[in-house]
Amino acid sequence: MSIGEDEASSSRTSPKSPHISWSDSYTKAHEAIKSLSPIVSSIPPALSSSETPASCLLNNQDIATQISTLLRHPDSGSGDNRLCRWLYDTFQTNEPDLHLVVLRFLPILAGVYLSRAALHKPLAGFECVLLALYAHETASRKGQALTVSIPDLSHPSVYHESKQNPKNSATELNIAIISPSLEPYGTVRSTRRARIVGVALEFYYTKITQIPIRSKIEFCEFCKIWAGQHGDSYKNYDDHDGEIQEQGKKQGRILLPWELLQPILRIVGHCLMGPSNDEELFETACGACRSLYERALHEINPKAILATESLFKLAKITRNSRDIDHTEIEHTKVIAI
């Protein structure tokens, strides 16, 4: 299976005038729902009659459960799989709202895909969707690498002054590559598999504030499977009792090269320390973090150890911290002017 160059380039969002775009996205979302109906067992009525079909499709738990079950089916992911086709077509509508719908299922799709990649199962359907996401990200970045120039406090900034003369300290800033430049790919070559999924996850991260919590929880659950570590070793260290996972169940462990691990860690970081205050998400992310920490130790990979350990410690600090609300006024029995 391959995606032609023209398809890859057409995924660049073409400018549309606003009033057309609204009705357009409305119809496209309804079309997507309509084409989904023969694939799933039932479309919830709330969905087919919705005024905001795209956001309904994104947030409806019933339909999400049905799609997730189908994606986890042992035969999902083949080239002629209708659901994969639907995800691909839905993504290719180029409606940002519908992009979110596809991204919402990325954790399960990538999770099932990566765990099956070495098992000689047909995966062309999954790869089709992943390549579409990859192509979209490649186009929107124009193939450029994402870089960060690491600050150096000897240069003054908006937030601080520097006593040193910037002329004397003409030190070069360290430039870090967050994500290397992107080449267009028409097929998934096995050595590029991790990179393609990693870039899809980078795309997921850029939209993460709009993704439903459930999808993030699913992602964190897959992290545990991928890590192949149950993460219980550091549970007591963590002073927290949770459900104890089945020991020795390590199916689905995958290779975690940095190009895949880095976006995974950013997403887990968001789930742990991000602005949503969802208890279940936090707990699942803690579990994912513990598993990834164990895995990093197994690989003796210094930067993965540093990153996962710091997240792990932060989760502990967050859990144990008594929040003092500094914005609360002082309580006194005497109210005075």
Binding site: V148, Y159, G269, M273, P275, I300, A307, H326
Partner: protein, 701 residues
């Protein structure tokens, strides 16, 4: 309303269950007022206060609202506050235009007014602030944010020059600080992330005269928000930038900047040390792979903040990631000292891993790995397999420099035993399959190596380049060159263009081994075209940024070509290629060695000798030069034979699997009349020839 008079006649001070309100020197119990307000008669309660304490309407409302807020009656507090016309109050307090102009000349007059207006201001602003707090607690976050923003807008209007220490009293300052801190939090809770972002920037970039700890809290919250929220908003505008200053271009840069500033502040004693700040910075910098910067931050950490063994461990991780294994190992040696933290499994494993990369450290690594096995208990029990793996790797490396054959084979079989028991504990760890395949290959147990190499490719789905390369090398060692080439072609199929360099190079070498020189040259030509395309696509500046991992190395291609042309006796071509290689790296032991070979093959022995000697000076442990020099000297008559023998033995000590060294040593023995020694050497050489890969196995690592 003098402050001293406030508590006069407050005889209820000692009773904690009764609320009191005091103003204008009078104090009253609020029991009656509370009854009225509980009945819903806000106006009656208000007038009771006004009469009892001689207050005006706004003051009474503000106090009443605060009372209700403190009593936890939030809805009622909101109703009370709703009666205050904030806009009017603010307008009254704003300095008029004439006053603004006057303020420079008539200082004294405005001073006298200030106390009055500040008092009124803090009363009203506190009322609005409490309104926001009430709304927040009732879950009406967007409205709360709106009210809180009103407080800040009002402050900016009233104090149009910004707040300084002398310009406001502490009561007002407290409200301002709290509102500044609350606003972004409210937006964040309301899910208005873009507004939260600008509220944070407003808090940090305007002059609110915040105290250090408050400012540090906001900076940390903002950094955390930037780092984890996933919201990407335009960086602070260029308008507020100073020339030559650092301008963060995205969230990550801004977050790292703020975290670094926070750490610096804590070191200078300007704010409390918050351990989570350092963890956030660790996360951010490791995500960027900038552990060298993190290392610098750790080096600057003040004593008493981290325990020294924790700091050494963290530094070791940073250095090791940054490629400075020597310093990393030094840190670990400190932290693993018996008086520090000698049983830390992570440190032991890292130390063993570093040692496994260097034959001369391997023995030290073996002892770390053994300690790790002993200490892999309790919460570290899951690391036992890894400890065994490290033991296997270190033993395998140690075998490389074993002084005797028996010691070598002992170490090698120990290494394999250790890897096998690691495998039993870690059946899903594909790295172990590779390690075992590699050990067998180094052993020249090629059938076993082949089996494991295939298994590794299966387990990894062919996604790891080194698996393909190992398989091809093992096949080439078995003299199955065309099969090896098929493997390389399969691998090329699974690899993107820019990562094909090492594969293509191996392919060319496989073709040379089959005496298909023209085909080999064709492959090299393709490689060079790839190099050109790569240069073009990355541009000159980008090369510095992009790590050249699996990329084509132009120098190696030219060098290979020089060797190839030398073996074909195309001297001119060989020299051209060699010069190209030299232009890229300057003089190195490798280019000097090749230069020597060309000279020697052309019969210029004295010049060849010079080149070889120079090469040895550049790198005394470079085996190919030792062999060439040994063989050249061996031809120089019986006087030179002992020197040649020394050089060749030395080469064999460094690389016991060098077929050429054995062969040359055999020649030396023969010329020296030791025929049985010579026969042994020739036998070794011929055995090795049957198992010689086109590149050394260790080139895979």
């Amino acid at each position: 309303m003098s402050e001293e008079a406030e508590f006069e006649g407050s005889q209820f001070d000692d009773d904690p269950s009764i609320w009191q309100i005091s103003a204008n020197g009078v104090s009253m119990q609020t029991t009656d007022v509370e009854v009225k307000i509980d009945e819903g008669n806000i106006q009656e309660a208000e007038s009771a206060l006004r009469e009892g304490l001689s207050l005006n309407f706004e003051e009474a409302r503000a106090l009443l609202g605060k009372l209700e807020y403190q009593r936890g009656n939030l809805e009622s507090a909101l109703r009370v506050f709703d009666g205050i016309d904030l806009q009017a109050a603010i307008q009254r307090m704003q300095p008029s235009l004439t006053e603004k102009q006057l303020s420079k000349k008539g200082r004294a007059r405005s001073e006298s007014n200030r106390a009055v207006s500040q008092h009124a201001a803090s009363l009203i602003l506190e009322a609005v602030y409490l309104k926001a707090k009430s709304l927040q607690k009732l879950g009406k976050l967007t409205e709360a944010a709106h009210e809180c923003k009103n407080v800040l807008d009002a402050v900016e209007k009233i104090f149009y020059k910004g707040i300084t220490d002398v310009s406001v009293d502490c009561k007002l300052q407290e409200i301002v600080s709290q509102a500044v801190e609350l606003l972004p939090e409210l937006f964040k809770q309301a899910g208005s992330y873009v507004e939260a972002m600008s509220a944070y920037r407003r808090a940090l970039l305007s002059h609110w005269n915040l105290e250090n700890d408050c400012c540090a809290r906001i900076q940390k919250d903002f950094a955390v928000f930037l780092l984890y929220s996933g919201v990407e908003v335009a960086p602070p505008s260029l308008a507020v930038q100073v020339d030559g200053s650092y301008v963060p271009r995205n969230n990550l840069e801004e977050a790292i900047l703020l975290l670094m500033i926070l750490i610096r502040k804590a070191f200078l004693g300007k704010s409390h040390w918050d351990p989570s700040v350092f963890e956030h910075l660790t996360f951010a910098l490791s995500i960027c792979s900038q552990t060298c910067v993190l290392g610098k931050q750790l080096e600057e950490v003040m004593p008493g903040i981290l325990t020294r063994s924790d700091r050494w461990k963290a530094l070791a991780l940073c250095y090791s990631q940054a490629g400075d294994e020597k310093n990393a190992l030094n840190m670990l040696r400190k932290s693993l000292h018996q008086h520090e933290d000698p049983n830390d499994v992570m440190s032991l494993l890292l130390a063993a891993k570093i040692c496994s990369g260097d034959s001369f450290l391997a023995a030290e690594g073996v002892s770390y790995a053994r300690r790790a096995i002993t200490n892999a208990q309790g919460s570290s029990v899951h690391l036992k397999g890894i400890a065994l793996r490290m033991l296997g790797l270190c033993l395998g490396k140690q075998a490389k420099i074993a002084s005797s054959d028996s010691e070598r084979s002992h170490l090698q079989s120990e290494a394999l035993k250790s890897l096998d028991s690691a495998r039993a504990l870690e059946p899903e760890n594909s790295n172990l399959i590779f390690d075992i395949a590699f050990q067998y290959a180094e052993h020249r147990n090629l059938n076993a190596a082949l089996r494991y190499a295939k298994q590794y490719i299966d387990a990894t789905g062919g996604s790891i380049l080194r698996g393909w390369r190992l398989l091809a090398l093992v096949l080439s060692a078995q003299q199955h060159y065309s099969e090896a080439e098929i493997v390389i072609d399969a691998a090329l199929d699974e690899t993107a263009k820019w990562n094909q360099g090492s594969l293509l190079r191996m392919k060319a070498k496989l073709r040379i081994s089959q005496s298909r020189y023209t085909d080999a040259i064709e492959t090299y030509r393709y490689l060079l075209a790839l190099v050109q395309a790569q240069k073009k696509s990355y541009g000159p500046g980008r090369k510095v940024i992009q790590k050249e991992n699996d990329k084509v190395n132009e120098y190696e291609v030219w060098h290979d070509l020089a060797n190839l042309y030398t073996s074909l006796s195309h001297w001119e071509d060989a020299e051209i290629c060699l010069n190209k290689a030299k232009a890229l790296v300057g003089y190195s032991e490798v280019t000097l060695h090749t230069e020597g070979i060309i000279l020697e093959r052309r019969g210029k022995h004295a010049e060849a000798l010079t080149a070889y000697v120079n090469s040895i000076f550049m790198e005394p442990t470079y085996v190919p030069t030792k062999i060439s020099l040994g063989s050249l000297l061996g031809k120089g008559g019986t006087k030179m034979l002992p020197v040649a023998r020394n050089l060749l033995s030395d080469a064999l000590r460094l690389d016991p699997t060098s077929r050429m060294a054995w062969f040359q040593l055999g020649l030396v023995h023969r010329d020296d009349g030791r025929l049985s020694d010579a026969a042994d050497c020739f036998q070794a050489a011929s055995m090795l020839e049957e198992s010689d890969p086109v590149e050394s196995f260790s080139s895979i690592h």
